[in-house]
């Protein structure tokens, strides 16, 4: 199972690109996609999901060009968009049956599978109620259920943890890990902690371009020996920010402990172990 994105561009107008000459090779496992707003993550995911077509380039799933044959992708796709809706007058059962029909999934086992998914997603008690009455988190779980209706070979989650509470996030990550044993999972998020705990590989994007792609260790390598921590007075923070790339700040004894990225530390700074968030901020600054 391989997904090859070769020289893909999405051009909106003469000067505006959503994605620019983007290439990446993806194999079985979890790919975490990180990038600030407007980086082109959703544009890329929509093109992989065959919602949008690239202006240039090809996207091949197992060497089949899905730009010209989108149904090849659609047969084996599970897609959870960032912002999706539901038909409010249908209940969860009916909506999932409809989704299954759209995906071309059926058979005697469909209803038991839906029931099991609804049980697993803790929606079984409200499964016969109109989805219009569900909370945001419940709708998000219906969205997750529809991803698992078929046995997807490629799964795309665009900001999937929105609306889920911390406990649910942990269980959702377990579910993704389970899924990734058998297929390609592409997970996009703003939250680095959602990615760093489960992603086999990470891709960092900015302004429609790929900044870095590889194992987490390879990406963290970019900031090894560049992460420091120091304590400063609160009123010095603004000046400090103009001179250094600040990763985070925390209060301690009426002062500020600042974690920052620099080639050379300021006086009294302590060197810290770098993590994915540091690398992400370093690459996208």
């Amino acid at each position: 199972m391989t997904l090859d994105i070769k020289n893909v561009s999405k051009k909106y107008n003469k000067n505006k690109y959503g994605l620019k000459d983007f290439s990446i090779h993806i194999e079985k496992g979890i790919l975490g996609l990180l990038g600030p707003n407007g980086a082109g993550k959703s544009t890329l995911l929509k093109m992989i999901a065959t919602v949008n077509k690239p202006t240039n380039g090809v996207i091949c799933l197992n060497k089949n060009n899905i730009v010209s044959d989108p149904n090849y992708m659609r047969k084996q796709l599970g897609f959870l968009p960032q912002d999706f809706g539901v038909y409010p007058n249908l209940n969860a059962y009916e909506f999932l049956e409809y989704m299954a029909a759209m995906k071309g999934v059926g058979g005697d086992n469909l209803k038991p599978r839906i029931t099991q998914l609804l049980e697993g997603l803790n929606l079984i008690d409200s499964a016969k109620k109109p989805i219009g009455s569900y909370s945001g988190g419940m709708k998000q779980r219906v969205g997750i259920a529809q991803v698992l209706l078929n046995n997807p070979k490629i799964v795309i989650f665009d900001e999937p943890t929105v609306g889920l509470d911390p406990q649910e996030r942990v269980r959702f990550r377990n579910l993704i890990s389970d899924l990734a044993n058998d297929c390609i999972v592409i997970l996009s998020s703003h939250i680095v902690s959602d990615i760093d705990t489960i992603a086999d590989k990470v891709a960092i994007m900015k302004n429609g371009e790929l900044l870095s792609h590889g194992n987490q260790e390879d990406i963290i390598q970019n900031v090894t020996d560049k992460i420091f921590e120091t304590t400063i007075a609160k009123e010095d923070l603004t000046t400090f920010k103009t001179e250094q790339t600040v990763v985070s700040t925390s209060r301690k004894n009426n002062q500020l402990v600042v974690r920052y990225i620099a080639n050379f530390p300021v006086a009294n700074a302590i060197k810290k172990e770098a993590n994915l968030e540091d690398a992400y901020l370093y690459l996208t600054r």
Partner: protein, 515 residues
């Protein structure tokens, strides 16, 4: 005051900077082009017996002002009756609710924004009338006052009231678009049907057309030296092959009472809005589902359990469209309120028991029009419900999903028309029976095509409304279900039209998916 004007300005810009508005504007211009028939046209709009006016400034000004007043009041309501709904949908309403803007101020800003939208269309029609005057000029001078006066006194007050009514209907029936659509239809029919003969009665004519028509009838009566009531046509009457005589019309000196009545209409409508502002929900609205149902749902029942993917029952590939069809029916069935089904069932019974001509000519178009929000939703619901990411990435979305949507819509229309189809078949009137079948298919394809092209419901709803209005007035040109005698190639024409609509919708959706 400045903030109030700013609200109106941006609301207006938001509404006019859309593809749908552009289409509406173009459609309005196309319709306005027909308001004053070109000299050799075989139809008339305003005709008193066999008389029409010389094509001078007054005739152009008054005729286009009246036609605009009547037709834009009719379709204008449907163009502007979703301004509050948009704020609900975009959640802007909740932001507005948290500001200091009073209910009346907010509603009044919506009225003015509605009015500005309609005014834009009126402005274009007004310019079109001057262009037409110059095109069809019969040697009369351009008198700007003869154009401006009727628009100000006839057209604008009526449209202002319609702008208010659109907001009032939204406040009371915001969740029920069917009630709004059908309710206004009956209000309009009532207003247009009331006849006015005296000066006092002219004051209650919202559209302001009766006083002009009365004056025209009197002028023609004086020419023909008859006291009998002259026969006046207003609207699009086709096939006027009789030669028309011409008379000179130089406008009207409107009596003061009429001018005051126009101002009173505006004042009363503002008063109505003020009263309605006390019961405005201010976006504190419940979900469409009943409270009882919501209460039963434990929204705190969270936590994804550990799902073992390996233990999930294995599904099979099934590309048949029966499940899609089943859900499309379900969505059609659940769209709208239950009472609408009772009214529809009553309509079906009437199709079975009323004289066949009445059933065919009047009951069928109204019964089908009652399904307007179901039909307009057929191919727009994916986008309006934000389900398009799923729908457009489904397996073969055109040959499976699109086909099932069309099939569900057509089946609904034919089930409703079934008693009539059976009666026509029993009477061996096969042409009429086939025409009803094709009519159902035609109106569904029209809904589908307009929905896909405009990415919205509005244009189809307005068009369907106009067609139904024409059907109720027994205008044969708009008969798409074979209720009148037609030329032998009528069925073929209808069939070709369906093929064209089907092709356009298919190609456009394919284009959308490819993009």
């Amino acid at each position: 005051m400045k903030s109030f004007l700013t609200i109106i300005k941006f609301d207006y810009l938001q509404r006019t900077r859309s593809y749908a508005f552009l289409i509406t504007l173009c459609a309005s211009l196309a319709i306005a082009y027909t308001f004053v028939p070109e000299p050799n046209a075989n139809y008339s709009t305003i005709r008193i017996s066999d008389y029409v006016g010389f094509y001078n400034s007054a005739w152009f000004g008054y005729v286009t002002a009246i036609m605009t007043s009547v037709f834009l009041s009719l379709i204008g309501f449907y163009l502007v009756n979703s301004s509050i709904k948009t704020d609900v949908h975009t959640k802007v309403g909740e932001v507005v609710a948290a500001t200091q803007v009073s209910n009346f101020k907010y509603l009044f800003s919506k009225v003015l924004s509605n009015f500005l939208v309609l005014l834009t269309i009126v402005g274009m029609v007004f310019l079109m009338s001057i262009v037409l005057f110059l095109l069809y000029n019969e040697g009369f001078p351009l008198q700007s006052l003869q154009f401006i006066k009727p628009y100000i006194l006839i057209t604008l007050p009526g449209l202002f009231v319609v702008s208010v009514l659109a907001v009032v209907f939204e406040v009371f029936f915001g969740k029920y678009s069917v009630v709004q659509n059908v309710g206004f239809f009956f209000v309009f029919m009532f207003l247009i049907a009331s006849s006015a003969k005296t000066e006092n009665e002219f004051a209650v004519d919202l559209f302001g057309s009766k006083i002009v028509l009365h004056h025209l009838e009197k002028t023609v009566g004086a020419i023909t030296n008859t006291n009998e009531t002259t026969f006046t046509n207003i609207g699009f009457v086709l096939g006027n092959f009789n030669k028309t005589n011409k008379f000179e019309f130089n406008g009207i000196d409107f009596p003061t009472s009429f001018i005051i009545s126009r101002l009173l209409w505006v004042a009363l409508s503002i008063g109505l809005l003020f009263m309605v502002s006390f019961v405005f929900h201010r976006f504190n609205i419940k979900e469409r589902v009943s409270v009882k149902k919501v209460r039963n749902i434990n929204t705190q029942a969270n936590n994804i359990q550990d799902i073992s993917l390996a233990s999930l029952p294995k599904t099979q590939i099934n590309y048949s469209i029966s499940s899609l069809l089943q859900t499309e029916f379900l969505l059609l069935f659940r769209k709208g309120k239950k009472w609408l089904w009772f009214v529809s069932i009553a309509g079906v019974i009437l199709l079975a028991v009323l004289p066949i001509q009445t059933a065919h000519q009047l009951v069928l178009p109204i019964l089908w029009f009652l399904q307007v929000s179901r039909l307009s939703n057929l191919t727009t619901k994916e986008v309006s419900n934000n389900v398009h990411y799923f729908a457009f990435t489904s397996y073969k979305p055109i040959s499976r999903l699109f086909v099932s949507q069309v099939f569900a819509g057509v089946t609904l229309m034919l089930i409703l028309a079934l008693p009539l189809i059976i009666r026509l078949t029993v009477l061996a009137n096969f042409t009429a029976a086939i025409s009803v079948l094709l009519g159902g298919l035609f109106i569904v394809m029209l809904a589908v095509t307009f929905g896909i092209i405009t990415k919205g419901k509005k244009l189809f709803e307005v068009l369907f409304f106009m067609i139904t209005y024409a059907n109720c007035n027994l205008i044969t040109f708009t008969d798409y279900f074979g209720a009148f005698k037609h030329k032998p190639y009528y069925v073929t024409q209808l069939f070709i039209l369906i093929i064209v609509l089907g092709s356009v919708s298919f190609l456009k959706r394919k284009h959308e998916l490819n993009r």
